[in-house]
Subunit: 343 residues, 2 copies
DNA sequence: CACACCCATGACAACGTCGACATATTTTTC
DNA sequence: GAAAAATATGTCGACGTTGTCATGGGTGTG
């Protein structure tokens, strides 16, 4: 049951344990011949290095901690974690994940737990884009914030999706296809992305010469996240019942687009011939399940994760991080829910 | 930068390091007075025990490893992870997660990594219910399989959802509400759940005296998971265009139900007045977004995770595990997508 | 051939913690 | 009031690894 250690390998290979250590870590000054003998012994005995012992000696755990509110227990931004893990795999880092579930006592505990494992750095990740101040329990460990940003600016490096650019591209996409009456069903205003997306929508339509009269904007949801009030179906229905109904509707996100589809169809409207619809997020369970498939702007979750991890690594290596807040662009994913509007 | 150790605490409190160790671990034989003095020193210095050192000494890592194909990087069965984490939190265990992404070389690496961290046990979790043989790289660590089962039966304890019972309950639910012509859109036959659900549907309808003529069964998807061919919309459309169309449709899962909704509405049918629809899984992003909200059978992911963790713990503690394969039932979640059928 | 130098290896201590054992102090028992 | 038992604290070494320094042999230099 007990594990073979470096000592047993050394004995088996007839060398000192330090030499075994050298082989394991690929250090120079080992003859090819001894190296082979040691490697054989390692294979024969099935030796696996003990990370704990290594850490205790060298005080470098090669471990990153991910602390999130709900990410890894919720279907939404999981791709952030995938991005981090892929980077970590490729670079020999171990990942420790913990979820606060929104509790700040829990958050303090987690920082303690992370410290007790002597992690090298923390990736602070939120489920949806927002402003938070990590409850570090007053520790200073290199930290990168992903999908969120600290209240007190300039404090911690952060990396976020570019909601504004995504919504702008989407709006342009509709405008370029001739739509001049456009509806917008707003995300829960609690969400940081909500304002940015709406803002981009307003400005871009106005740049194209549309006025408030050409726009039809309603609130889709509000209330606390996870227990929100849902007005989407009603809002979409009302919007589409107007005589001068919009020829295209932009949805705050993909999920809400489901209800817009249903509302449209219940009124006998065809998508995209009678109404074009675009979403936001590229939540694929939805975008691919809807028929016609939904054109949307993809939140760059995977990249956020990968870049965040890379960035954290630089930070740990002691590199100065200048641009304290970075933004990653959203890519427009063209599918088939938008038609040209012949006027 | 360097961490305070038990020695500095001992010095500060004017006791031996062993006494500090006793206080930390809540061992008896420490005066209330010394305990307080030590605790104060711990607080003042911000001392946090070093897990690595503890592990190296006591060779009990108190860590469970989760090895999954895609779970933590995919929106589907994340609740399994949540269940595990909640149990782990409550019981002072640390969790290490790694995803194979389907690669078996990677799987071998992960087992090695787990061993190098001297984890106490492994939870082997799959995204959808299936039969797999873990590629352990021929190690024997206590393992519990969640949402899957080994090919070579009786080898490892496993815990799975009861797809059969879930589908049976759902079918009964429809029958009890007077539906006598029922459609079924089949899951990808690759999935283990597909056969069980269909089987339950067939047997239960037959127990109620329906014949194959009353049933209308089509394939919704096939092909490799993640890149499947999708026939759902077409199948549903065709099914609902028949003169003696079914009054209720059972969907292989919730996601597919989106397309059934859209197909029904495109034909001008109202849900649930003209067609009732039920799903499977309770994938809430879908079930709650559809209007009317979808009645479905909830896959007990959270419980699977929690029970699996608890079970693994017993296993590690040396308890004999008798029932090698366990099953957890699916709960019917009644919402509003089913109406009574007046005949 | 004496010197410096590079290469290959080993001896040993140290990392932070806890278990085994030893010692000192107090309380109980008869 | 002495022996026995229970409580309180300390000393020391070990866990598995790697960093530091030492050693020994080989090679080249003048």
């Amino acid at each position: 049951m007990d594990m073979v250690s470096i000592v047993s390998v050394a004995k088996a290979a007839g060398v000192s344990n330090k030499t075994v250590s050298r082989v394991i870590n690929g250090e120079p000054y080992v003859t090819e011949e001894t190296r082979e003998r040691v490697e054989k012994a390692i294979r024969d005995l099935g030796y696996i290095p003990n990370m704990a012992a290594r850490l205790i000696r060298s005080s470098r755990s090669n471990t990153f901690g991910i602390i999130t509110d709900y990410v890894s227990t919720t279907p939404y931004s999981v791709d952030i974690v995938r991005g981090i893990q892929d980077w970590a795999n490729a670079n020999g880092k171990t990942i420790l994940i913990a979820n606060t579930g929104g509790s700040s006592e829990r958050e303090v505990e987690i920082w303690k737990m992370f410290q007790s494992h002597r992690i090298d750095g923390v990736l602070y990740v939120t489920m949806y884009r927002r402003i938070v101040d990590p409850v570090t329990g007053d520790v200073s460990i290199p930290t990168v914030m992903i999908n969120c940003r600290p209240q007190t600016r300039e404090l911690l490096p952060s990396i976020e999706p570019d909601d504004y650019q995504g919504a702008r591209d989407l709006t342009r996409y509709l405008l370029e296809r001739g739509h001049r009456r456009i509806g917008y069903i707003r995300l829960n205003p609690i969400l940081l992305g909500a304002e940015l997306r709406l803002d981009a929508f307003r400005r871009t339509t106005s740049e194209f010469g549309l006025t408030e009269n050409d726009l039809s904007i309603s609130l889709g949801m509000d209330g606390p996240v996870g227990a929100e009030n849902n007005y989407v179906f009603a809002a979409a229905t009302e919007m589409l019942k107007q005589d001068d109904r919009p020829t295209a509707i932009m949805s705050g996100n993909d999920e809400m687009a489901i209800q817009i589809y249903i509302a449209a169809m219940a009124l006998g409207l065809r998508i995209p011939e009678d109404v074009s619809i675009v979403g936001f997020d590229d939540f694929r369970t939805v975008t691919m399940a809807l028929k016609p498939e939904l054109t949307t702007a993809a939140l760059p979750y995977y990249d956020l994760g990968r870049e965040g991890a890379k960035w954290l690594n630089d930070l740990i290596a002691g590199e100065k991080i200048y641009p304290v807040s970075r933004v990653v662009s959203c890519k427009l994913v063209e599918r088939s829910s938008v038609a040209f509007n012949p006027h």
